[in-house]
């Protein structure tokens, strides 16, 4: 835009310029030049022992602040209105005592040209920190339904199929037949319902959308669909074994199906190394079914003082020791794979559930040992009082087993420490491809807190791009965070790195790369990058 085009004649030009100049003088007293931040207190990246009382920003020219924001470690922005300006120095009072962690001080000031200049600096009180985990709202009705479905499925797989197996292989009578059939039917009902609930959970949809085909489609694509399929087959075989001849083979196949159903999905089966974890889950599941499933028919037979009860008990107590050994061994190895560090037993939700389960297991094993070594021999000998005590004791065992199922079903909601560690270390990445240049930026770990950024650059047509300098510019306008600039260094492996970076807040950031191709040629590329909460 030039003056010539705006007015006509020479006199007009002069008059209008004079008036314009006077008007310009009358404009609010803005400073005269492009402002640049010269120094700041606290300095960028500073770690302070104490909460600062004030912040000072010094510019090379007089400035007038437009917006000053402090973003707290939890991501809440606080507008800073207590400041005074002395030429190029802006002194800002801190909004009270600051908590521990990394804060962002963002400034947007105006200088001569009315062109706002903005930037951010980071400082930490105590030590660099990250945002606290963002809590996802819990859908209680859905979670409770998932939990009930899971417990019912366990009842079918362990008590139902285990019961069918015990009836086929160890019992002579039909005690526990109805209970077993009931468990199997409950499991058969729960299996497809659980699949639908899984779909709801995968989509984050509420219970009301249970009939939505999209929900079922989502469920089908999860590994849990295989578990449900195997469980339905196993439960069906279990039911058939109750009524058809050849019940031994059918119930054995059902027991194997229990192991397969459990190994098909779940935290433990997903763990590496899979050649170890999946067979262990299979053995663990089959052993649980063998033990837990035998308890109701055995208890009922003993309670009813059936003539065949001692023989049933004798067969059970002969085989149970190796089965429990398999159970304990597989469980121990899986727990080590999942929990990794003993401290995680208490520090993570998964670990606490495991601890609770172990506590119940110790009680259960104590009770089982007492039954095995104190009550079994007299009961096998046909002593009435011992049989009655054993039946009562078995009833308590069953209650404990069901409680353990309840806890194990709770794992559905807690990622194991192994998975937590993998998820936490996962980098956040973005790829930008423009005509002039392309870049891969990865931020490791990809969550708020201290991170490193690694940058690979290439020309737009995949050729090598030997840049003179690369600057990473991060901003998050929705949190009031103005551009944070960090120069990248070249470690010599063809990449560019920014170390010692702290990303103060989780969420969608805008990442810009200023690539200085030659002295006079800079390419800027920009894209969003998602930073997870810690």
């Amino acid at each position: 835009m030039t003056k010539h085009r705006l007015v006509g004649g020479a006199g007009g030009v002069f008059a209008s310029l004079l008036l314009a100049f006077l008007l310009w003088l009358a404009l609010p007293a803005v400073a005269f030049a492009h402002a640049a931040l010269i120094s700041a207190e606290p300095a960028d990246n500073a770690i302070l022992a104490e909460s600062p009382v004030r912040f000072t920003l010094t510019f090379n020219e007089p400035v007038s602040p437009l917006k000053l924001t402090l973003v707290r470690p939890d991501g809440t922005p606080v507008g800073l209105s207590d400041f005074h300006v002395d030429g190029g120095t802006v002194a800002i009072d801190a909004p009270g005592r600051l908590g521990q962690g990394t804060h962002v001080l963002s400034w947007r000031v105006v200088s001569a040209d009315g062109h706002p200049v903005a930037g951010s600096l980071l400082f930490s009180v105590g030590a660099p920190s990250a945002a606290p985990p963002a809590t996802e709202p819990i859908d209680w009705p859905l979670d409770i339904a998932i939990w009930i479905g899971k417990v019912a499925l366990y009842a079918g797989l362990f008590l139902g199929i285990g019961g069918a197996f015990a009836l086929a292989w160890m019992a002579r009578g039909r005690d526990g037949f109805h209970a077993t059939a009931l468990f199997l039917i409950a499991g058969l009902a729960a299996a497809p319902l659980s699949l639908g609930l899984q779909g709801l959970d995968a989509l984050g949809a509420p219970l009301a959308r249970f009939a939505d085909p999209a929900v079922w489609q989502a469920a089908q694509s999860t590994s849990f669909a295989w578990t449900v399929l195997a469980a339905i087959a196993a439960l069906g075989l279990g039911l058939l074994s109750l009524v058809l001849p050849g019940r031994r083979l059918l119930s054995l196949a059902a027991l194997a199906g229990t192991g397969i159903a459990l190994a098909a999905s779940g935290h433990a089966s997903a763990a590496e190394p899979q050649w170890l974890t999946r067979p262990l889950v299979f053995l663990h599941g089959a052993a649980i079914a063998f033990w837990a499933g035998a308890l109701p028919p055995l208890g009922l037979a003993l309670k009813r003082r059936k003539a065949d009860a001692p023989a049933f008990l004798a067969r059970f107590s002969r085989t149970i020791l190796p089965v429990v050994a398999v159970l304990v061994l597989s469980g121990t190895v899986l727990a080590i794979v999942q929990v990794q560090e003993p401290s995680a037993l208490l520090s993570t939700a998964y670990g606490r559930l495991l601890t609770a389960k172990l506590a119940l297991l110790i009680v259960l094993f104590g009770l089982a040992a007492f039954n095995r070594w104190r009550l079994t021999a007299p009961a096998e000998a046909g002593e009435g009082r011992a049989s009655a005590r054993l039946a009562r004791s078995i009833a308590i065992e069953i209650a404990l087993v069901v409680a353990i199922f309840g806890i194990a079903a709770g794992w559905r909601f807690t990622p194991p420490p192994r998975a937590l560690a993998i998820a936490a270390a996962e980098p956040a990445a973005m790829h930008i491809h423009t005509e002039k240049a392309m870049a891969d930026l990865s931020v490791t770990p990809g969550h708020a807190g201290p991170v490193s950024a690694s940058i690979t650059i290439m020309t737009g047509d995949f050729g090598p791009l030997d840049a003179k300098a690369v600057t990473l510019v991060l901003s998050k306008p929705d949190s009031g965070i103005e551009p944070l600039k960090r120069d990248a260094t070249k470690p010599g492996d063809g990449t560019w790195r920014v170390d010692g970076l702290v990303i103060p807040v989780a969420g969608r950031w805008s990442a810009r790369l200023d690539i200085l191709v030659s002295d006079f040629d800079m390419v800027q590329i920009e894209a969003p990058i998602d930073i997870r909460p810690q």
Partner: protein, 174 residues
């Protein structure tokens, strides 16, 4: 003269003046293709408060037969090279010339203002309506550098850029 026009004028003056003071800029923002052009680079301040010690400018393609004006207290250096194509100047073919001019070894404190001058010709076959950019690298004490080298992309205006390169709008041949 309407009030509206006056305000527009005031705004224009305010904006142009502001921009002129804010960045390294050219004194004359327009030139006709096929005309000689005296490029006066105005350096309004140092880098982040530090004194300027070097000013380097890369000349746009089609700005031919360029000669810098020596400046007392500054060493002058030019980088010559082949143009992307050959241009015609006063009936002669020109294929090479000065492409970069460096003034180094000087000292211009942040509080002072100075100008750096060179002259050349916008070749007659340049396209009117386009802008020719003169990217400038300003070096200061302590190794700090300001690069006035950003060129607006399609849909961007110079005001969107933090460190725009000075530009000259090319006008139709006179």
């Amino acid at each position: 003269m309407t009030k509206h026009r006056l305000l527009t004028c005031a705004t224009a003056l305010f904006l142009t003046t502001g921009t002129a003071l804010a960045h390294v800029t050219l004194e004359t923002g327009e030139a006709a293709v096929g005309s000689t052009y005296k490029a006066v680079l105005r350096v309004p301040h140092g880098c982040e408060g530090k004194a300027t010690t070097a000013v380097r400018v890369k000349l746009p393609e089609g700005f031919i037969a360029a000669k810098p004006m020596p400046k007392a207290g500054w060493e002058l250096r030019t980088v010559k090279g082949k143009y992307a194509k050959s241009y015609e100047l006063w009936g002669e073919k020109v294929t090479e010339g000065v492409q970069e001019v460096d003034w180094t070894g000087g000292n211009l404190p942040d509080a002072y203002y100075d100008e750096f001058v060179l002259r050349g010709t916008f070749a007659g076959d340049l396209v009117a309506g386009e802008t020719a950019y003169f990217p400038v690298v300003q070096e200061c004490e302590g190794g700090t550098v300001e690069r006035w080298i950003q060129i607006p992309q399609a849909g961007q205006s110079e005001d969107d850029l933090e460190t725009p390169a000075p530009g000259v709008k090319l006008l139709p041949k006179k």
